[in-house]
Subunit: 190 residues, 2 copies
């Protein structure tokens, strides 16, 4: 039997992604976002929702660019920290000892030590409510060599990303291989 | 060292969510989407990107409503099947033996057997490129009793959702508990 939980943002899985941006003085900042996801295949785009109150919001409106730095499990504490304090008050790179790398394609920094990076130019800004949705066209994806297979394919299991469970605010790892997409479903083909 | 992989939709994790809609004749359809995510906290909203070519696209434009039915691992084959064939050609409920339940809040059906359901009214439609992004305001979340804790909290580990790795097209399960959000990061507090 289904229980009604009310009008809430209770979807799972949600990602734990770190959004990189520069402020008007060129200072790098990062914040953690879970309201985010790929939103178009051609052009390749990723969308990220931010509250206007965040320092990152103003940075992205100003620079029309952001990066997504995707942490692995080893970076969970830093990724969590990036969501706990504001770039107005804290230099988050200095506090964590991580390195801000300037993208060579867009005017935004990424976290050098994180395994997977998306470099994005803002092409749409959609006001929804408390959150504003920014659509970023992905100009490049950069991955650490050690999260790529020999054929340079990128597989989630090597990135070892963090998965967020909203409301209970828990982080989980990626689990075991269930099966191949566009294949498991053949069981139902007539 | 970072390797450039080009402008691709290579973010992980991405969800495996099933979008429910009615066509103009009131026939229920479902399709699987990975380009989706929560996009606003107030009002609670979820965004889903669809190609115009899909049957679901026309349904949602017509009815201004959709549901998100989130499968657990036990429903992986059905969820995969829902992404392999078109509702133009196949009655996907009949083919899988699953049940279309009409939402009592929006004009869209959901998959009765799936553990977690979001019932959504379309409040924005954003043309991006190959994909159109639909923002749905969440009017209710319904969960199977057996995926809720005693206090009715919803935790990802009980839903046991499927996680998609794009390009290599692999499905993974949810892994182990890493830590509590807004807590792990205290390690970096001055």
């Amino acid at each position: 039997m289904k229980i009604s939980l009310g009008a809430k943002t209770l979807a799972v899985p949600t990602p734990v992604w770190v959004i990189g941006s520069y402020d008007g003085k060129g200072r790098p900042n990062v914040m953690t976002a879970a309201w985010a996801g790929i939103c178009c295949s051609r052009p390749p785009c990723v969308g990220v929702s931010l509250r206007q109150a965040t320092y990152t919001y103003g940075n992205i409106v100003g620079q029309k660019a952001f990066t997504v730095s995707i942490p692995g499990r080893a970076q969970a504490a830093a990724a969590d920290f990036f969501g706990m304090v504001s770039g107005r008050d804290v230099d988050k790179f200095a506090a964590t000892g991580l390195t801000a790398m300037k993208s060579d394609l867009v005017n935004a920094p990424y976290v050098k030590e994180f395994p997977l990076i998306l470099e994005c130019e803002v092409i749409r800004q959609v006001e929804i409510g408390l959150h504003t949705y920014f659509v970023g066209q992905i100009h490049d994806v950069k991955a650490e060599e050690n999260v790529l297979a020999e054929d340079r394919a990128l597989d989630a299991s090597k990135v070892d990303p963090i998965i967020f469970s909203p409301e209970v605010r828990r982080y989980y790892g990626l689990g075991d291989f269930i099966g191949q997409a566009f294949s498991l479903g053949r069981a139902f083909m007539a």
